[in-house]
């Protein structure tokens, strides 16, 4: 039996005592909650949920295979909670555990190194440095237990490896020890968190082989790697087995989630801005310090000269052991740690020079490296472990040298140095790091009792099946969940409370689910009675209104909960419970609470925004919707089961806005005049040749190239190139335009074109025309007679582009103005269609609507239907591509005089033309004719919310036409203010004369730029329900229902988010139902229907393998121990 010396026991106790620091962080009844912490209010429920592959906590349900690896982290919290202590006590114990653990594991490594280096008083400084530093402090801000677990594992693993290298322990035992360590401290299997560990292990392996590159050494290392890998695979089977089936899709999804490679690179560059070697050496490269201007303590460390000096001493202390250690064997260990530090710095710096390129290349081309998108946070443990050892060595050396002269002074200095380490990380002592925005936002909050009361209620068995929608919704852009009592996070509070299906608009939903949920909120906001149909369609039966929601935060404003008072008085709702500021309402009469429902048939839906059809009077909620997304072929059995069709074509350019063209994407890097230009020309010729056989691609090629050419001209003008060169560029451009023109004519006249693509090409032509016009208008003043040919060439090219643009715009099918709304539709079959039209604007009810299909006009007096829909009657329409145009009688929102004369005054004068009372983001178009009748004073026009003085007025356009009438057109987007006024003003100016001016304004029209909806509905045959569900049995990831009646051709829908892994045991065709759920068309008569989330069985198998592997590993260890003894 190994015995510990008295000193070791004292050192151990000192580390334990320092580990009690987290007790200083808790004041009163406050607990740590919010931000990215993921600390839960109900650890046991949370832990139980994480034992399964499917969770109901997020959105409409979702896969959480990734979360199973959190078994030990969340299990620890659940275990403490099982002792029947409150949440604060659970947090205190958990925090102490994670705080002291890195110190204890470092104690193990430091004790070994102390012996190896033949030194003393080494353990405490090393352990303290490893426990208390700014890297960990940053992690403690969100109590990152995943990070701490790997951080704590690192010294243990390194200790085992050193012992293995010394041959103190066998290869198999080392492999087992490393695997068992990583089994318990697995960082929740988050690969990026392994960054630091990977560096240490790779450096260790290379260093080991550098020392001894014999075959035996390689073989031994290989054996260790294989043993560790194999044992780890078996031990971690409980999450690895299910995760393997999930991995392929999740990786690309998470890259997409962060904005693709481009988005991740942008993030990398942003984080690496301040990760210079100088900052990393001094441990001051923490990105958060520089990016958060409200950081609670960063400013002190970055600006206080004393603290900067202390930071600057850190690298000197790290280098000191290399200078003072003379023994080659000891020095080898010191050098190893210095190498770890230097190698880790390359990675910590990310894309920062001088090695930024290397990191970026790894990012782009090394498969999987993209996970290290936050390099500082992922690789720093390698630097910290080496710094802790090196600086710890320096501390004991300083003590030794001074003690040789004065023993007491030596001790004093030694203790002072350790105290400085503690004080240098002073936020640890107060917990001020939790207050991440000074005096505004903190992680330490007092949770009101009613939240716990709600948690208890919602956790009761009879309430677990409710699907609850929360009010108010979070801010639409950042989806922040914030409460007046201090909670602030992107993770909805309800997900930390219970496992119920509580719907919060969050990043966990699919796009379709998000759109439908938003639509439901919108219908409720607008008091549209069709909300109830959509709510039932989404399986939502309960509403939670939170009056304590921080709805008026500047950065994330949303609706005031009180705005929902009218909605909550709806006859369809009944208040069922009140918990302080949280009130719960239920829809009455109650509908079925089963997650599995039976539908009588399938309705085909084609188009965008499935939710809008639920408000149609023809919509049958007993039909499951099948979305035809084009490329996927519909199985013939599903085709047979379709009883009705809904087609919802897009209104082409109804808002009259062309898609924005970003000129930066087309501006050439190299243009005529550059030495490399011939290469570019050669490349262009190659590309042209490649697309020459495809008329559409060729047309797009010319559209882009000619735009690029004219932008190259703009660049040359900006760079003051000589006129000859400019003329040359325009010559090239003209040649390009000629080809562009013939390609346009050829494509339009001879081919059946894709309308959407042609619209895009027309946009490019329009942008090109605009660039030329701008160039003509802004010709530099320095241009003289020499530049006349340039202007002439510009004009020539303008006419050429103009003719191409008109040809394209005539051919393309788009809404030409605000009255004629055009739709392009591809019909799957010839049938009698009911045409339903929702204009989303006020129409003149006395006038008919003209609707034309492929040019055949029908004049219709529409019938009004609920929710703003108009029934335009039935028409037989043939299958295939159809062009539909609706001419709508718009109402002029302008109510003032038809003609006004506005006179200027010396002091300035404004005339109010009309008010717009629209909804936020609604677009309006204002048009009028005007003419200056006399005078010279300028008038200008603008929309204003409220104007207190003329000085605030900023005109958008000067109205100074005096020879003939001109038309003024202005599109306007309603701001979040409720009312905007259009005014025409003249303002007093410095050069003002006393002369009076008058302008005439007439034919004023203010109309909403509406985007109407059109639905073509056709019923193929009446549906019939032949089966009903008599009994349902369910578990977390499976359902079994008993069926009564003929189930053949009936549809069963599980209203959980669609996932391929939901599998039925019976013979049925699976499809995505209702745009988000799992649907099955039964093809035979069945008595029972069973579905299971298939990954769940893998979880069970994995747990068995892991358990057995752990027993075998421990058995082997015990046996070998006995043998050693």
């Amino acid at each position: 039996m190994k015995t510990f010396s008295k000193q070791k026991i004292i050192e151990f106790l000192v580390i334990l005592a320092i580990g009690l620091i987290p007790l200083l962080w808790f004041q009163g009844d406050k607990i740590v909650l919010g931000h990215d912490a993921g600390l839960t209010l109900s650890p046991i429920t949370h832990f139980q949920d994480r034992l399964h592959a499917w969770t109901y906590r997020f959105g409409y349900g979702g896969d959480q295979t990734y979360a199973i690896s959190g078994f030990f982290i969340h299990g620890l919290e659940a275990l403490i909670s099982a002792l029947n202590v409150n949440v604060q006590t659970v947090q205190k114990i958990t925090f102490i555990f994670w705080f002291v653990l890195p110190g204890l594991t470092m104690f193990y490594l430091a004790t070994y190194l102390e012996k190896k280096l033949r030194i003393s008083h080494f353990v405490i400084p090393v352990s303290v440095l490893y426990m208390i530093n700014h890297f960990l402090l940053q992690g403690w801000f969100v109590a990152e237990r995943t990070k701490f677990s790997l951080y704590a594992a690192l010294p243990l693993i390194l200790g085992f490896l050193f012992k293995w290298q010394d041959r103190s322990i066998s290869t198999v035992k080392t492999g087992l020890l490393i695997s068992i360590t990583l089994f318990f401290l697995n960082g929740m299997a988050s690969l990026p968190l392994f960054g630091g560990m990977i560096i240490v292990l790779v450096v260790f392996a290379v260093f080991h082989l550098f020392e001894d590159s014999s075959f035996n050494a390689i073989k031994r290392l290989g054996k260790l790697i294989i043993t560790t890998t194999l044992v780890s695979l078996f031990l971690n089977a409980y999450w690895l087995v299910p995760y393997a089936s999930h991995l392929t899709s999740s990786f690309s999804n998470s890259v997409e989630f962060f904005g693709g490679l481009g988005g991740v690179l942008e993030w990398l560059n942003y984080l690496s801005q301040n990760s210079s070697f100088a900052n990393i050496f001094t441990l001051q490269g923490i990105p958060e310090w520089y990016q958060n201007p409200d950081h609670p303590y960063a400013g002190v460390f970055l600006n206080n000269p004393i603290l900067i000096t202390v930071a600057s001493v850190i690298p000197i202390l790290a280098v000191l052991p290399l200078i003072v250690e003379k023994d080659p064997k000891s020095k080898k260990i010191i050098v190893f740690f210095m190498i770890v530090a230097l190698v880790s710095m390359i990675f910590i710096a990310g894309s920062h020079p001088p090695f930024g390129l290397l990191y970026t290349l790894l990012f782009k081309y090394f498969p999987g490296f993209i996970v290290f998108r936050s390099p500082f946070y992922k690789f720093s443990p390698a630097l910290i472990i080496s710094y802790a050892v090196l600086i710890g060595y320096s501390f004991q050396y300083i003590r030794l040298v001074i003690s040789q002269k004065n023993s007491q002074l030596g001790k004093g200095i030694y203790l002072s140095l350790i105290t400085i380490v503690l004080l240098y990380s002073y936020p640890f002592l107060s917990g001020s790091f939790f207050d991440y925005i000074k005096n505004t936002r903190s992680m330490r909050v007092s949770v009101p009792q009613y939240i716990y009361d709600f948690e208890k209620w919602v956790g009761q068995k009879e309430n677990t099946k409710n699907r609850i929608l929360v009010f108010p919704p979070p801010n639409i852009d950042n989806k922040v969940d914030a409460y007046k009592w201090g909670y602030w996070s992107l993770a909805p509070l309800t997900t930390l409370l219970a496992n119920n299906q509580i719907i919060n608009e969050s990043g966990y939903m699919s796009q379709n689910e998000l759109t439908m949920t938003r639509k439901l909120y919108q219908l409720i906001d607008e008091n549209d009675p069709s909300w109830i149909k959509l709510a039932q369609f989404l399986g939502i039966d309960t509403f939670l209104i939170r009056y304590d929601f921080a709805w008026d935060i500047k950065s994330s404003p949303t609706k005031n909960p009180k705005d929902y008072d009218q909605f909550l008085r709806s006859a369809n709702l009944q208040k069922v419970k009140e918990f302080g500021e949280w009130h719960v309402y239920k829809i009455v009469p109650e509908s079925s609470e089963s997650d599995v429902s039976v539908f009588n048939s399938i309705a085909l839906f084609k188009g965008e925004d499935i939710s809008s059809i639920t408000s149609l009077s023809v919509f049958d909620p007993q039909q499951a919707l099948y979305i035809d997304d084009g490329p996927t072929k519909i199985s013939y059995k599903i085709k047979d089961a379709i009883s009705s069709i809904y087609i919802k074509p897009d209104c082409v350019m109804c808002d009259q806005q062309w898609t924005y063209t970003n000129y930066d994407n087309y501006t050439p890097l190299l243009r005529r005049g550059s030495v490399l230009y011939p290469i570019i020309k050669f490349q262009e010729a190659q590309s042209e040749k490649k697309v020459s056989r495809n008329p559409e691609a060729l047309l797009k090629f010319y559209a882009e190239k000619s735009l690029s050419e004219i932008l190259g001209f703009r660049k040359a003008v900006d760079e003051n190139e000589p006129p000859q060169l400019l003329e040359g560029i325009l010559g090239d451009h003209f040649n390009q335009l000629n080809k562009y023109k013939s390609a346009t004519q050829n494509y339009i006249r001879n081919y059946q074109f894709d309308n959407e693509n042609l619209l895009d090409i027309a946009r490019l032509a329009r942008a090109q025309r605009l660039v030329i016009l701008e160039e003509i208008a802004s010709a530099p003043k320095t241009w003289n007679s020499n530049t006349e040919p340039v202007i002439a060439a510009l004009q020539k090219n303008f006419f050429e582009v103009n003719s191409i643009q008109s040809e394209l715009e005539q051919a393309v099918w788009r809404s030409p103005d605000n009255f004629q709304k055009r739709f392009f539709v591809n019909l799957p079959s010839t049938a009698d269609y009911t045409l339903l039209y929702r204009p989303n604007v006020n129409l003149d009810q006395n006038l008919p609507i003209n609707i034309s299909i492929d040019g055949v006009i029908n004049t219709i007096n529409p019938q009004r239907a609920p929710s703003g829909w108009l029934n335009l009657g039935n028409l037989k329409i043939n299958e295939g591509n159809r062009k539909i145009e609706v001419v709508q009688p718009l109402v002029n929102e302008y109510r003032g005089d038809t003609q006004v004369k506005i006179q200027s005054t010396y002091q300035g004068n404004c005339y109010e033309l009309g008010k717009i009372q629209g909804k936020k983001d609604d677009k309006y178009r204002l048009t009028f004719q005007y003419l200056r009748l006399n005078g010279r004073k300028d008038f200008s026009a603008d929309f204003v919310n409220a104007m207190n003085s003329l000085n605030q007025f900023r005109g958008i356009e000067t109205l100074n036409r005096e020879s003939f009438e001109d038309q003024f057109i202005h599109d306007f987007i309603v701001t979040d203010k409720k009312e905007d006024t259009f005014i025409i003003c003249n303002r007093p100016g410095a050069e003002d004369t006393l002369m009076q001016s008058t302008i005439l304004v007439k034919d004023i029209v203010i109309a909403k730029l509406n985007v109407p909806e059109l639905v073509l509905y056709s019923q193929k045959r009446p549906p019939s329900q032949t089966v009903r569900i008599s009994d349902t049995k369910s578990s977390q990831a499976g359902y079994s229902v008993s069926l009564d009646g003929e189930s053949n051709n009936q549809v069963l829908v599980l209203d959980q988010s669609f996932n391929e892994n939901w599998k039925a045991t019976t013979d049925a065709i699976k499809f995505k139902a209702n745009g988000y759920a799992n649907g099955w068309l039964l093809t035979e008569n069945e008595k029972t229907f069973t579905v299971e989330y298939s990954t769940e069985s893998l979880v069970r198998i994995g747990f068995v393998i892991s358990g057995l592997s752990l027993l075998i590993s421990l058995g082997y260890m015990l046996k070998s121990k006995k043998y050693e003894n």
Binding site: F210, E211, S276, F277, A278, N279, I280, F281, T282, P305, I308, T309, A311, S312, P315, I316, V319, L322, I323, P328, K331, K332, V335, M338, I339, L342, M345, P353, P354, F355, L357
Partner: protein, 125 residues
């Protein structure tokens, strides 16, 4: 103490006088490299491979002066101390250059140590 400082300064002066040509070569080559990396097209290389500028200095020092490996260690420590005022005054450009130089000086020491270590090991075997 005074005499020690005087002696050190005179040593440095003597060293500079003796090695003036070598020092000039290093400075000229480094300046040339700097200028080269500012030329059109080559500036791309300079931007992407900025570490070349820093690698160049220790290589030249090793080649021309063949100093003891500890020279790089002392050099690094001296530069860490020199960097303190730049850090306090937020002279980030200089701070970063010195930080980079430090990094490569430490690597030079490590490489020289490993070469020596390997050599010693071979001798032992």
């Amino acid at each position: 103490m005074k005499t020690k400082i005087k002696k050190s300064i005179s040593n440095i002066i003597v060293f500079a006088q003796v090695n003036i040509r070598k020092i000039a070569i290093i400075i000229v080559l480094e300046v040339l490299l700097l200028l080269l990396f500012r030329l059109p097209y080559l500036n791309v290389v300079g931007e992407l491979f900025s570490f070349l500028l820093y690698i160049f200095i220790p290589i030249l020092i090793v080649y021309l002066f063949k100093p003891k490996k500890e020279f790089f260690l002392y050099g690094a420590v001296a530069l860490f101390i020199i960097n303190i005022p730049f850090s306090i005054l937020h002279m980030n450009f200089l701070k970063e250059i010195i930080g980079n130089l430090n990094y490569f000086l430490l690597w030079t020491y490590i490489i020289l140590f490993l070469i020596e270590f390997k050599r010693e090991n071979k001798k032992l075997h």
